[in-house]
């Protein structure tokens, strides 16, 4: 295994931020479970987890980079490695793996929490519109994972651009809570330009709900396939752009 990657894993596993992210996920899911009415939909969204995972990922991704600058360790990292590519993508993979890990935890916790609930009402394997609930949950989580990829790219690009952790996190929060409605507002205000506006990056957040609920494409104006492709393309653009900025940034 690449030394950079090993070091990143080692550092990440000792950093509190990874643990805090996990705690936030568990707390919000549990909170939603106990305080909000439980519906088939809330189950398929893993008790809000699909909104929280990308937000946690944005925060963690920007912290993973900014802490190197804060601790002056970026100097060691860069002079000991010839390729900035390795530094950058070692971090990228670590955060991506972390997103995957969060998604798995969210899946398991959804199942566990639902056991406390009157399970008879929503059987996980009973079909509705050709989809069973388990499938819906898995599809939504897959959507959240793709959106996490998008979010990591966005976060890496932003932290290289604005160099300020807090700004990136705020941006992430705004995106997570107002992104979709802002995007819809834009499309409603300029109906003639929907064909273009529908591709704006705020619209990408629909991926975490629409995949299990195709009727949402009426709001997003994108088909599920279009959403998946657009998310990945955006993700790649952000990651590459972030890399370009990193490559030209001097310590």
């Amino acid at each position: 295994m690449n030394t950079n990657f090993k070091r990143e894993i080692y550092k990440f596993s000792h950093e509190n931020i990874a643990l805090y992210g996990l705690i936030v996920l568990i707390v919000t899911m549990t909170y939603n479970f106990f305080t909000k009415p439980i519906t088939r939909q809330s189950l398929s969204y893993g008790f809000g987890t699909i909104e929280w995972i990308p937000l946690i990922v944005i925060t963690v991704a920007s912290a993973v980079f900014s802490m190197e600058y804060k601790n002056n360790t970026i100097i060691m990292l860069e002079y000991k490695t010839s390729s900035k590519y390795q530094i950058y993508f070692a971090k990228f993979w670590v955060v991506l793996i972390y997103s995957f890990f969060l998604t798995v935890i969210a899946f398991l916790l959804t199942l566990i929490l639902s056991m406390f609930f009157n399970a008879a009402r929503y059987d996980w394997l009973v079909n509705k519109n050709g989809n069973n609930l388990l499938n819906d949950l898995l599809i939504n989580l897959a959507g959240a994972l793709i959106y996490s990829f998008f979010s990591i790219g966005l976060s890496f690009m932003l932290i290289m651009l604005v160099k300020n952790n807090a700004v990136v996190v705020c941006f992430g929060i705004v995106l997570a809570f107002f992104g979709a409605s802002f995007s819809r507002g834009l499309m409603q205000s300029f109906p003639n330009f929907i064909g273009t506006i529908k591709w704006n990056f705020l619209n990408m957040i629909f991926i975490s709900q629409q995949l299990s609920n195709p009727s949402l494409s009426l709001k997003s104006n994108l088909s599920s396939v279009e959403l998946i492709i657009a998310n990945i393309v955006y993700g790649i653009i952000f990651v590459v752009w972030g890399y370009y900025l990193f490559k030209h940034r001097r310590v």
Binding site: H14, N71, I75, E78, Y79, S82, V251
Partner: protein
């Protein structure tokens, strides 16, 4: 292998955008040499160090242990250690974990921990370390893996007296084994005890590159003397046109006049209580050179 320079700079100019931070720097460091890189704030010391580590955009040639360093090729730095400005430490790791991240050899790491007397806290998280504790850890990281060249930017920053002495001894020991050092510091008297050569930089340009021994030679041309009657001695020197500077307790004279002075004092019945070659006062020399440059 012996005659390969640990470090060589050929006409190195460093840029940020179009601004030139370091201009045409040329100097070399032989294995085992300890170079004191000195100069006023903002002179470009840190910049030169970063350039050597391949972290800056530059023109010219930087060669470390016979291999060229470029922005995209840091292979030559495999056997280089560095501490630039602030120690590079992960606060969420213990001191030992910070070292382990880079250490190739457990034994080497353990001996550094004991040499720098860090054993009592090395297993605590680094976020609880004091300034000096962090600094020592940073120095230990720079000295890991038997480097051939070590670059230390203000290494004595925040160290107490005992630690300073330990670091100095460690630097000497490594240099005896062939490790070359490039050390910047503002506390010249501190550096003077270890360095073998001085490179003076001002406004991005190297204005002096001299062996410490040469400084001492210059200074040794002056003598510091006390007699049982300084007042009379001064009168006599004046009468015989011997140049001297004096204060209440002693006189400073040139080496060339020593014999004449001894004769005169003997004739006049003045007893010479003490006569010693003057210690090199690097600080004063540097201040003089810089003042001269500024014109």
């Amino acid at each position: 292998m012996k005659n390969i320079n640990a470090l060589q700079l050929d006409n190195v100019s460093t840029f940020v955008g179009k601004t030139v931070l370091v201009k045409n720097a040329t100097f070399e460091v032989k294995p085992g040499e300890i170079i004191g890189l000195i100069g006023p704030n903002g002179a470009g010391k840190t910049t030169i160090m970063k350039t050597i580590l391949g972290l800056m955009k530059f023109k010219g040639k930087v060669v470390v242990n016979g291999r060229e360093v470029s922005e995209n090729d840091h292979q030559a730095l495999d056997k280089a250690g560095a501490l630039i400005e602030h120690p590079a430490i992960y606060p969420f790791l213990t001191g030992k974990q910070n070292l382990t991240l880079y250490a190739h050899d457990q034994k080497d790491m353990v001996s550094l921990i004991s040499d720098l007397q860090m054993s009592s806290y090395i297993n605590n998280k680094a976020k609880g370390y004091s300034l000096g504790m962090k600094q020592k850890l940073g120095i230990a990281i720079a000295l890991l893996n038997q480097p051939q060249i070590v670059i230390l930017d203000e290494p004595m920053n925040g160290l107490d007296i005992e630690s300073t002495i330990r670091v100095r001894k460690l630097i000497k020991r490594y240099s005896d084994q062939g490790t070359a050092f490039l050390i910047s510091s503002h506390i010249l008297s501190e550096l003077q005890k270890v360095m073998t050569r001085v490179v003076l930089i001002s406004r991005g340009q190297i204005i002096l590159n001299k062996e410490v021994a040469e400084f001492e030679k210059i200074s040794h041309q002056k003598y510091h003397l006390t007699t049982d009657n300084n007042k009379l001695a001064k009168k006599i020197f004046a009468a015989y046109q011997i140049t001297f500077t004096a204060n209440e307790n002693y006189l400073i004279v040139s080496q060339k006049d020593i014999y004449k002075i001894q004769d005169l004092l003997f004739k006049e019945g003045i007893h010479l209580k003490e006569m010693l070659p003057l210690e090199a006062n690097l600080e004063q020399i540097v201040v003089d050179i810089l003042a001269e440059k500024r014109g």
